[in-house]
C-alpha cells in the first residue's frame, strides 16, 4: 500500500499517488511522458528515492522487477532455458510460444522474442508481486496479445503492477488502471 507517495532522483518527479494492491490483481500505471511512471515503479524496489508519503510492504514480500530495458549484451552465450533458470523462473514451464526459443542463444533472439522471454523471467518465478516496466516494448500485436493472455493467467498466482504508455494494452490486460498526472 502506498500513501501520497512522491518519488524521484535529484528531486521529486512523480506523484503524489496513493494505491493499494491486493493479491491476484493486475494493476496498470498510466501517465503521459514525463509523469514519472517508471520512477514510481523503481521507488518500490529501491531504485529511486521516496521524497514523501509512506510505502507499506507485507512482511516477507518477495518482489520481481523487469526493467524497461532488460540487460542485453552483444555477447550473451546463454540459452533461453539457462536465462530463465538463472532468473529463478522455474515455477512452471513457459508458454508454448516461448518454448521454441529455450534452446537458442538469447543474443540470437529478436528484440520482441527477448522482451517476452525477459517478461517471463519475472513472471515465471515465485515472487508475490511482479513489477513490469513497459513490458510491451519491441512487441508486435501478436506478442502483445500473448502477453495479455499470460498476465490474465498469472493474476491467479500473484499481483502484478505494470507501467505502460499504451492505454489499450492496459485496458485489455489489467483489472484496473491508476493514472499519474504530469
Amino acid at each position: 500500500m502506498a500513501e501520497a507517495l512522491t518519488a524521484g532522483y535529484g528531486g521529486p518527479v512523480s506523484g503524489p499517488l496513493s494505491f493499494t494492491l491486493a493479491r491476484g490483481e493486475v494493476v496498470g500505471l498510466w501517465g503521459p511522458n514525463g509523469s514519472g511512471k517508471s520512477t514510481l515503479l523503481k521507488s518500490l524496489v529501491g531504485g529511486a528515492r521516496i521524497f514523501s508519503g509512506t510505502l507499506y510492504k507485507a512482511n516477507g514480500l518477495n518482489l520481481a522487477f523487469q526493467d524497461q530495458r532488460p540487460v542485453r549484451r552483444e555477447e550473451m552465450p546463454f540459452t533461453g532455458r539457462e536465462y530463465l533458470h538463472y532468473a529463478g523462473a522455474d515455477r512452471e514451464s513457459p508458454p508454448e510460444r516461448l518454448r521454441s526459443w529455450l534452446n537458442r542463444r538469447i543474443d540470437e533472439l529478436s528484440g520482441g522474442q527477448f522482451q517476452l522471454l525477459s517478461v517471463w523471467a519475472a513472471l515465471g518465478g515465485h515472487a508475490d508481486l511482479v513489477l513490469l516496466d513497459e513490458p510491451t516494448n519491441n512487441l508486435d500485436p501478436k506478442s502483445e496479445s500473448l502477453l495479455i493472455e499470460i498476465l490474465r493467467a498469472e493474476s491467479k498466482h500473484r499481483t502484478v503492477l505494470l507501467v505502460s504508455h499504451e492505454r489499450e494494452f492496459l485496458r485489455a490486460a489489467c483489472s484496473r488502471v491508476l493514472e499519474l498526472k504530469p
Binding site: V45, F65, Q66, V71, R73, E75, P77, T79, Y86, A87
Partner: protein, 264 residues
C-alpha cells in the same frame, strides 16, 4: 631442439602447476568476461607482479607477496567506489611503474622482473604447486556458489535490490578469487601468459558456444589444450613458455574464426 626435455622428470612439477592454471584461469576468465571486467585481470596481474618483487625486498617469498598485492587491489576495487575501467588502468600503471623501478634498482628484482614478464613456469617448484592446488580447490569450492549470484546481478540487477539482497559479498568473493588466481598465474606462467589464459579462451568460448554450459567447457578445453601444446613446443624448441602460450592461443583463435568464416 630438445626432445629429451619432454620426458625429463625435472619438468613434472612445472607441467602440473601449468596444467592446473590452464584449467582454472579460463573458468575465472569466463566470469570476468561476463562482468565485462577482463581488464581487471590485467590490472591485478600487474599489481601481483609488483607486490611479488616488493615482497622479496622484505624477505617475503614471491609466491606469498604476489597474492598480497593482488588481494589489496581486489579490496580497493570492491570498496573504493571507483567506477569502470579507471581503477583497472590505475592498477596497470601502478604495477608497471613499481615493477620496473624495483627491477632496475635491485639485482634479484632484475632477474625476477624478467621472469614475471616472460613466465618462469619451468622453475616452478613445490611452493607454486601448493599455491596452484589451493587455487584449484578454492575455485571448485567457490565458483559454483558464486556463479548464479554473479549472473543474476549482471542480468537482473533490480531483483537483488528489490528484495534487499546485497550483492557486495559475492562481488568481493569473486574479486578475491580473481586476485589469487592472477597472482599465482603471474608468478608461474608470467604476466601476459596469465592474462592470455583468462582472456583468450573465454573470448573464443563466448563467440562459439551454444550455451553457458558450453562456454565453460570450451574455455576450459581451449585453455588446457593450448597449454599442453605450448608446453611441449616451448620445451622442444627451447622457447620462453609465456610468449609461446600466447602465440599458440592467438593462432588457435584465428584458425577457429577463419573456419567459422568470421573476422575477429
Amino acid at each position: 631442439m630438445n626432445p629429451d626435455a619432454l620426458i625429463d622428470p625435472l619438468f613434472q612439477i612445472p607441467f602440473l602447476v601449468g596444467l592446473i592454471l590452464a584449467a582454472v584461469l579460463p573458468l575465472i576468465g569466463v566470469l570476468l568476461r561476463l562482468r565485462n571486467e577482463w581488464l581487471a585481470a590485467l590490472g591485478l596481474a600487474h599489481l601481483a607482479g609488483a607486490s611479488a618483487l616488493a615482497g622479496l625486498a622484505f624477505g617475503i617469498p614471491a609466491v606469498a607477496g604476489g597474492p598480497m598485492g593482488a588481494a589489496a587491489g581486489a579490496l580497493l576495487k570492491t570498496f573504493g567506489r571507483i567506477q569502470g575501467n579507471t581503477i583497472y588502468a590505475a592498477m596497470i600503471l601502478v604495477g608497471w611503474s613499481t615493477t620496473l623501478l624495483l627491477a632496475a634498482n635491485t639485482t634479484l628484482g632484475s632477474s625476477m622482473g624478467h621472469a614475471l614478464v616472460e613466465g618462469q613456469l619451468y622453475f616452478a617448484g613445490t611452493a607454486q604447486l601448493v599455491a596452484a592446488s589451493l587455487l584449484m580447490l578454492l575455485t571448485i569450492a567457490l565458483l559454483p556458489k558464486l556463479m548464479p549470484h554473479l549472473i543474476r546481478t549482471e542480468f537482473f540487477p533490480g531483483q537483488g535490490q528489490a528484495n534487499h539482497r546485497f550483492a557486495w559479498r559475492w562481488h568481493l568473493g569473486f574479486d578475491l578469487l580473481v586476485a589469487v588466481g592472477m597472482a599465482v598465474g603471474t608468478g608461474t606462467v608470467g604476466l601476459m601468459g596469465a592474462f592470455a589464459l583468462v582472456f583468450l579462451p573465454p573470448w573464443l568460448a563466448f563467440r562459439t558456444a551454444p550455451s553457458w554450459r558450453g562456454t565453460l567447457i570450451i574455455a576450459l578445453v581451449t585453455g588446457t589444450l593450448g597449454y599442453l601444446i605450448a608446453f611441449a613446443l616451448a620445451l622442444y624448441f627451447d622457447q620462453p613458455f609465456g610468449p609461446a602460450l600466447v602465440a599458440l592461443l592467438l593462432i588457435g583463435m584465428a584458425l577457429v574464426e577463419t573456419a567459422r568464416g568470421r573476422s575477429i
